[in-house]
């Protein structure tokens, strides 16, 4: 009757079941809750007993293992259920005003379970790796607390059943990203990088928020199922409303997934610990934008203009980031720009309406890019320790600069081999993971007649093969530029770090086989992922089918998918071999002796001067404006002239009065008083 915190409103963790199909999820809430429990425990340890490393090592990865197990169980259940409808589990009503009702609810369908599987699997591996990587760090417990919290929010993001709840995860992962980038907060550069990530992301969040408001205004709900069911009827195809909604949502994606023009935060995010870069800034969080577009596929499919914007942004980002990656010297930044570039591919895919291809690349990329980061982490870790033990400059700049590396393959054999696997997967070499997913994207561009985007995609693929080979060569091949003294201290990675590398290496080898296009020559057709995700994208695909029509089966320059898959692989292979040949011979100067390149290469080395341009055009004018507002408008104009001015005028009037009349002598007052009385009396009398 009175309502409130009673049990009648919170229906307990069992949730209210909205039955659909034969899929009966198994403890779905616990997928999310396990990482949260881990966060609570680790945070408590961080505050109360920061030296309990053993417990942290157990709890941190342990909860992820449990979550992974649950994700696998649910995945298997879902596989067994066939093409089932989404299941929504509602736990409590979060916000309810009038006809706005937002539940804390999970939507369990093919897309969300698949994403949850990817997230928990990669997270688990990286958590295990972190046990080795962060072992000596004084903030060990705090690190795992943040990392667990991140996974919690990431799972909220992918499992949420409505836009606002996605936004909870969306902002939450942003927060964890902020905390983890600035994990070693004593360094002002790192805390600045965290701040930059948060603020730039906030611009995207603004878009996400506006998108939600617009959805509610036009559709009247924020629940996925309701919105996607009503939208095709309520919103006109290509109309202003749906275009505005999707453009706003896309702004959110641009921020989170580091696309042009908001990609500047991601390279700086490399200031965080390397496993964090692997988990957050490669495998999971940054792909949230792709997930959101795939999830809201129906809305995007209704807005052809937005789709074009998405595809063009994706292609442009892919290309520009790849060119920047060509000239970077920081081992992590090369891969960071590579990540931006690969995210561009995913946006290209979803912008073309090839949602499955986007998610496919998201999954394979998560595996091989995480591996690349973990491999660079192993390199940095080893080099840092070696330099430290040799009493040389072990600063971050020194131990991450590829010009100080080279020839490490003999010292770090496992890392070396797995790095090659990841590099080839990234380059799209058959039969590794990247080949299949990238081929699908490129083919989607070709089949939709987007010749320009397709050409950009192919060129970028060649660039990709080039820069990643340069990366391998500079780190592992050629003559070692590590001093002989430090070389003696080089140790291969510990087992706890090595095994995750191998696991991810195997993943990079095999992940592509979950979906093999029928058009590829000599290979059996195997469209498992397409079939599996089909129910999630059926709505969007039916909209596209109704308005866009079927994609063609020939590329704009002639030839089918199979032909071009072979051609692009050959191109990539040629690029790899050529770059390898050329660069293996080259002698690099060590970082402190190196001269920055000039000309076109200098332009790329300086990252197209984007940071400098933003600084000059946005940040500085903004700060000047803010100072102006404060000093001139607020202090001088409003407070000085208007407020204190009024007071000053009053005071001056008072001064004048007091000099003339107010002498301070009691006698004079009485005299004036007396005169006044006499005047009044006189006036009364006469």
């Amino acid at each position: 009757m009175v309502g409130g915190f009673g049990l009648n409103t919170v229906s307990g963790l069992a949730g209210q079941v909205a039955e659909g199909g034969g899929f009966n999820p198994f403890l779905p809430a616990w997928i999310i809750l396990f990482p949260f429990i881990g966060f609570v425990v680790n945070a408590a340890i961080a505050f109360l007993a920061p030296n309990q490393r053993r417990r942290v090592s157990l709890v941190g990865p342990g909860v992820l293992g449990l979550a992974l197990a649950l994700a696998v169980i649910n995945f298997v259940l879902l596989l067994g259920a066939g093409e089932s409808e989404p299941v929504v589990r509602s736990y409590w009503t979060w916000i309810e005003v009038g006809h706005l009702r937002i539940d804390a609810a999970l939507q369990l369908d093919q897309l969300s379970i698949f994403m949850a599987l990817v997230v928990t699997a990669v997270s688990f591996v990286i958590h295990v790796y972190s046990v080795g990587y962060m072992q000596k760090d004084p903030g060990y417990a705090r690190y795992f607390a943040y990392l667990n919290l991140f996974v919690f929010f990431m799972l909220v993001l992918v499992l949420a059943a409505n836009f606002p709840l996605v936004f909870v995860g969306w902002e939450g992962v942003g927060l964890c990203s902020y905390l983890l980038i600035g994990f070693w907060y004593s360094d002002p550069k790192k805390s600045a990088a965290g701040l930059k990530a948060f603020v730039v992301n906030r611009i995207g969040d603004f878009g996400f928020l506006m998108g939600m408001f617009a959805i509610f205004a036009y559709v009247g709900s924020l629940d996925f199922i309701a919105v996607f069911e009503i939208a095709p009827r309520a919103l006109q195809y290509g109309g202003a409303a749906v275009t505005m909604i999707t453009l706003f949502l896309f702004l959110g994606c641009v921020g989170k997934s580091a696309q042009i023009p908001l990609f500047v935060w991601l390279p700086d995010a490399m200031e965080g610990p390397t496993p964090v870069s692997a988990l957050i800034h490669a495998a999971t969080m940054v792909t949230a934008g792709v997930y959101l577009i795939a999830r809201a596929g129906v809305l995007f499919a209704l807005a052809p203009l937005t789709m074009n914007v998405v595809a063009i942004t994706g292609a442009a980002t892919a290309f520009i980031a790849a060119t920047i990656a060509v000239q970077q010297v920081d081992i992590k930044r090369v891969i960071a720009y590579s990540t931006i570039s690969q995210l561009g591919y995913m946006f290209l895919a979803v912008g073309l309406g090839a949602f499955t291809a986007g998610i496919f690349h998201l999954a394979t990329h998560a595996v091989f890019k995480a591996l690349l980061f973990l491999a660079s982490g192993a390199v940095i870790h080893a080099l840092h320790d070696a330099l430290h033990n040799a009493r040389e400059d072990a600063s971050e700049a020194a131990s991450q600069d590829m010009r100080n590396m080279g020839g490490l393959r003999t010292y770090l054999p496992t890392t070396y081999r797995t790095a090659w696997v990841a590099a080839l997967a990234l380059a799209g070499v058959f039969p590794l993971a990247g080949f299949f997913s990238k081929d699908e994207i490129l083919w989607a561009a070709a089949a939709h007649g987007q010749t320009v985007l397709w050409v950009i995609g192919v060129v970028t693929a060649v660039l990709t093969a080039g820069y990643i080979t340069r990366w391998i060569v500079m780190v592992f091949h050629g003559e070692s530029r590590v001093s002989s003294k430090a070389r003696k201290h080089l140790q291969p990675a510990a087992r706890v770090m090595g095994i995750p590398l191998i696991v991810l290496g195997v993943g990079s080898l095999l992940a592509g086989w979950m979906n093999v296009s029928g058009a590829l020559p000599l290979l059996p057709e195997f469209t498992w992922l397409h079939d599996f995700l089909h129910p999630s994208f059926a709505g969007a695909e039916s909209v596209l089918a109704a308005h866009v029509g079927e994609p063609s089966h020939a590329a704009p320059l002639g030839g089918g998918e199979g032909t071009w898959a072979v051609i692009s692989t050959v191109l990539a292979a040629v690029a790899i071999v050529a770059v390898f040949r050329i660069l293996s011979e080259r002698k690099y100067a060590r970082a402190k002796d190196a001269v920055a390149p000039t000309g076109v290469m200098g332009f790329l080395y300086h990252k197209w001067y984007v940071d400098e341009v933003y600084d000059a055009l946005i940040i500085r004018p903004f700060q000047a404006l803010a100072r102006f507002c404060w000093r001139v408008i607020d202090r001088a104009l409003i407070d000085g002239v208007m407020v204190n001015g009024t007071a000053a005028v009053t005071r001056v009037m008072g001064r004048i009065g007091s000099f003339v009349i107010q002498t301070g002598y009691v006698g004079s007052y009485v005299l004036v008083f007396l005169l006044g009385v006499l005047i009044v009396l006189g006036a009364v009398a006469f």
Binding site: T663, Y665, V670
Partner: protein, 99 residues
Amino acid sequence: MPLLQESLALSAILFVVGTVGVLIRRNAIVMFMCIELMLNAVNLTLVALSRQVGIEGQIFVLFVMTVAAAEAAVGLAIIISIFRHYESVDVQHFRLLRW
């Protein structure tokens, strides 16, 4: 009405004496006494006229005396505290009434 004119004249004289005293003397105590004098002049008027007008005049005198007593208490207290501060009760020396 015997003595009415005389009474009124006396009270007028007393009042003027008091007023002039307040105006020209600098010693706070003396000024204070002059104020009392003015009050008593008014009292005298009230009592004198109460014969004609009615008992209210005399009642009013009681009020005035009460107020005068209260005023004496507060006023003297102020003067004493001023004296403690400045060691003087010369009103020329403190011009606190001026902003």
